[in-house]
Symmetry: C2
Subunit: 117 residues, 2 copies
Amino acid sequence: MEMKSAVAALAALAHEGRLNAFRLLVRAGRPGLPAGELARRLNVPPNTLSGNLTILSHAGLVEGRRAGKSVIYSARYGDMTRLLQFLMEDCCAGSSDICAPLRDVALACACEETEPS
Amino acid sequence: MEMKSAVAALAALAHEGRLNAFRLLVRAGRPGLPAGELARRLNVPPNTLSGNLTILSHAGLVEGRRAGKSVIYSARYGDMTRLLQFLMEDCCAGSSDICAPLRDVALACACEETEPS
DNA sequence: TTATCATTTCGACTATCGCCGAATCATGGA
DNA sequence: TCCATGATTCGGCGATAGTCGAAATGATAA
């Protein structure tokens, strides 16, 4: 069951235009961006982008909310996290040297709150 | 340039049969599994699986090496790591609460060498 | 070399995806 | 209400991906 949604999310991301849009939204953080602004920044026709945003949103990767005339899209970090979790599940098969680099990747995503003290 | 290969990897994984095969290889660890054994375990025709393994290998996610009559496939953990890194790049946009769950996912992939003391 | 087994490639069919122009829907302002 | 604007949906065409049976390739052992 989880399998189907993972495939859907991966299929949604397996497209240059959608991956660009998604990454832009990921970088935009919680506030997100209006659809038109996205189309302008990515330099794609609004209707094409709209279809791609629909696909991303069906896959649970983004969501849109209306604000006046605009629809503001933002990344759904929770589902993004679950997808990554699904991909790295049981990745290590007992060999810690496989798993270690993955940890480093996550720790490199260090934000500003890295210092524990 | 990195973009293209990320899309290729995601497209390769955006397929139930291939994702099953890949995950099975990921769990199999470095030793990997012969193609026929994979086909048997996944219950798919050998030629179909062969095509899918070719796609995965072109995407850099798996590799095959010959051992006698069999070709043994194994996951390429390095490229898998790079893909995850690409997906979570700049994920936090300054908000640490976005990034923290991702770190937890990576830390949950804890292997046996988790204990720091 | 010849037989045999594991795997891969070939060929053709079907289904689905992606893109674009045009029409439609939703909102805010005159 | 009527118009302007931002966004989405609809219709279609062309291109691509997926599957399977059948044939070919590669490797081994006698």
